[in-house]
């Protein structure tokens, strides 16, 4: 039985235009809406798979404002059984602060008899992209960490993680308790079912305050990159453009016979 904690972050949907808040400290998600990163969706899926296979409990955690419950509910809807919200303004927390808060939850839950032998996180958050909360968390907890895994499974007291490394697929076999950060691509996150959504609504979310004052991110401010001037040459419209396109192929020498 392996208890799994999966950490997700409520982030602005950045697939369309990105807008900054007035104080330039965060991306403004009010127009585009909010989501979680694809890496974390895969981490949630793996948490559900591991607990399904071992009969343990999957708990989802986020540090964010009250609205971040939306991301907790979406993880509950696909099979997590418990949820914890650390209520705080995520944009005034640096990666070391977030790691310390997650560690505090892991310790408190363990003291209450709910061990999270495996903690899963995303490789990097879709907004701040610090690439480090999981690693810092491992040091906080004194646990080994595997970074950027696409697949994890549990084999007795060992977690087996597979990472696409520079020279091929690398395998790690690490004794539990451990921390693993997840990268998209190894599993397909499942869609929530209607009963899944109904069940998610009924789960009582544990709400708690932070354990310490944040030291803060080292952010001076955010800015938008300068717009790139368009230099596009339109070859034509619709099917009529085909000859011009094939002329271009010939010019670039990509049309071999």
């Amino acid at each position: 039985m392996t208890g799994v904690l999966v950490c997700v972050k409520r982030v602005p949907d950045s697939s369309s235009e990105v807008v900054l808040t007035d104080d330039a400290q965060a991306v403004d998600g009010r127009f585009a809406g909010f989501t979680m990163s694809p890496h974390e969706e895969c981490a949630v899926e793996l948490a559900v798979q591991v607990t399904g296979a071992t009969g343990g409990e999957a708990t989802v955690l986020t540090l964010g404002d009250a609205d971040a419950v939306e991301q907790l509910r979406s993880a509950l809807a696909v099979g997590c059984q418990a949820a914890t919200l650390v209520t705080a303004d995520a944009s005034s927390y640096g990666p070391a602060d977030v790691a310390r808060e997650i560690a505090a939850v892991v310790r408190d839950h363990a003291a209450a008899g709910r061990a999270h032998e495996l903690v899963l996180l995303g490789n990097d958050a879709a907004d701040s992209g610090d690439f480090q909360v999981g690693i810092r968390l491992a040091y906080e907890l004194g646990r080994p960490v595997v970074n950027g895994a696409r697949v994890v499974s549990v084999d007795g007291d060992t977690v087996v993680a597979r990472v696409e490394g520079p020279d091929g697929t690398e395998t790690y076999r690490v004794p539990l308790p451990a921390v693993v950060t997840i990268r998209e691509g190894g599993v397909e996150p499942r869609y929530p079912s209607v009963p899944g959504r109904m069940k998610a609504k009924k789960v009582e979310v544990e709400e708690r305050g932070p354990s310490a004052e944040p030291t803060g991110p080292k952010r001076v401010k955010l800015l938008l990159p300068p717009p790139v001037p368009s230099n596009v040459q339109v070859l034509g419209t619709g099917a009529a453009a085909a000859p011009a396109v094939v002329d271009l192929f010939e010019e670039l020498g990509v049309l071999t016979r």
């Binding site: 950045s14 697939s15 369309s16 990105v18 694809p38 890496h39 640096g94 070391a96 879709a126 907004d127 701040s128 992209g129 610090d130 690439f131 480090q132 690693i135 810092r136 491992a138 040091y139 080994p144 595997v146 970074n147 950027g148 490394g165 520079p166 020279d167 091929g168 697929t169 690398e170 395998t171 790690y172 076999r173 004794p175 691509g185 991110p217 080292k218 952010r219 001076v220 401010k221 955010l222 800015l223 938008l224 990159p225 368009s230 596009v232 040459q233 339109v234 070859l235 034509g236 419209t237 619709g238 099917a239 453009a241 085909a242 396109v245 094939v246 271009l248 192929f249 670039l252 990509v254």
Partner: protein
């Protein structure tokens, strides 16, 4: 002193992004009145740095090459390698520890920073002044930038790919090799690679090396919408690359995905069809030499950023192109 991690290709030469990081280090050194640049390479139980690598690093102005050796470093472990890098930092009193923003580079810098109790800035593009030391880095997959203060020592960061162009130094460095066998604590070797499998041929390999890539996004319309696109791929001897919408919907396998969380491609010609050009997709295709976008929306970011475009429905444009290629081939 600035300590830069240099990663190696399988043949022992330095990876391009590490040479970019060394160039960044040199700019930093120049701003700081000529602080020396040292490199750290992880040699493990293999042969130390080759003469070619040593010469290459000299060309980039490196003073000392710390070659970390030993059984314990033979297989990769984030904590073990980071502890070895910190041994060098103690010996050399480096005020900066940096790497290229590769998967390994980011991971190792995060370990180094956590162990040293300092901040870490991932994917840095530029720096502004040294006191205080402020860097600008990519966030939101490159859609926004963050100015970040690195006021602790060592300053730890990674350099985003293509932030600077790799350029040799005016004055070469000595690149003296100093072999070191650091002692690694057992606890730092617990999470360690136990085996590596060669990547399966023809998975993302062909996509990354293809001269021409045909891209397909939501505009393909569904799992059955790829016929004409695959035919064009065939006619051009190209590879198919897709957007995340396509892989998430299960229309095509994930190893075909191009972008921040997929493959990064650098073909002679990229032909994105029905792809809007979200920043996370752009992150994977911006190195293409030429881009020809096919899209119904003339205002789509992919169209405005492309070199060439055809405005129209891909289901009409692509068959017409295929037809024209066949016609010319006779």
């Amino acid at each position: 002193m600035i300590l830069t991690l240099v990663e190696q290709n399988l043949d022992g030469s330095a990876v391009e992004v590490s040479l970019e990081a060394l160039t960044f280090a040199r700019n930093l050194s120049a701003a700081g009145g000529g602080v020396p640049i040292d490199a750290v390479v992880l040699a493990g139980d293999g042969p130390g740095p080759s003469d070619e690598l040593r010469k290459e690093l000299a060309t980039y102005g490196v003073r000392t090459v710390y070659a970390l050796e030993g059984e314990d470093l033979a297989a990769y472990s984030g904590a073990g390698w980071a502890s070895a890098i910190l041994t060098v930092r103690e010996q050399s009193k480096a005020v900066v520890v940096m790497a290229a923003g590769t998967d390994r580079g980011n991971e190792l810098m995060a370990h180094v920073a956590a162990r040293a109790g300092v901040a870490m800035a991932a994917n840095v593009l530029t720096f502004h002044g040294l006191a205080p030391f402020v860097v600008t880095r990519q966030v939101v997959g490159g859609a926004a930038l963050e100015e970040m203060l690195l006021d602790q020592r060592p300053a730890v960061f990674s350099v985003a790919g293509h932030a600077v162009e790799a350029t040799p130094a005016d004055v070469p460095g000595a690149a003296d090799v100093v072999p070191l066998t650091p002692e690694i604590a057992a606890a730092d070797l617990v999470a360690r690679v136990v085996s590596t499998e060669e990547p399966e041929a023809d998975e993302s390999g062909s996509l990354k090396s293809a001269r021409v890539v045909v891209g397909a996004g939501r505009g393909a319309g569904g799992p059955d919408g790829f016929g004409d696109l695959l035919e064009l791929t065939e006619l051009l001897g190209a590879a198919l690359g897709v957007s995340r919408v396509v892989t998430s919907a299960g229309w095509r396998p994930h190893h075909e995905q191009v972008g921040q969380t997929g493959s990064r491609i650098a073909p002679e010609l990229y032909i994105p069809c029905g792809i809007s050009g979200a920043i996370q997709h752009w992150a994977g295709c911006s190195s293409a030499k030429h881009i020809l976008a096919i899209n119904t929306d003339a205002e789509a970011p992919m169209v405005t950023r492309a070199h060439y475009a055809v405005i129209g429905d891909l289901h009409e444009v692509v068959p017409a192109i295929n037809e024209e290629i066949r016609r010319r081939r006779g």
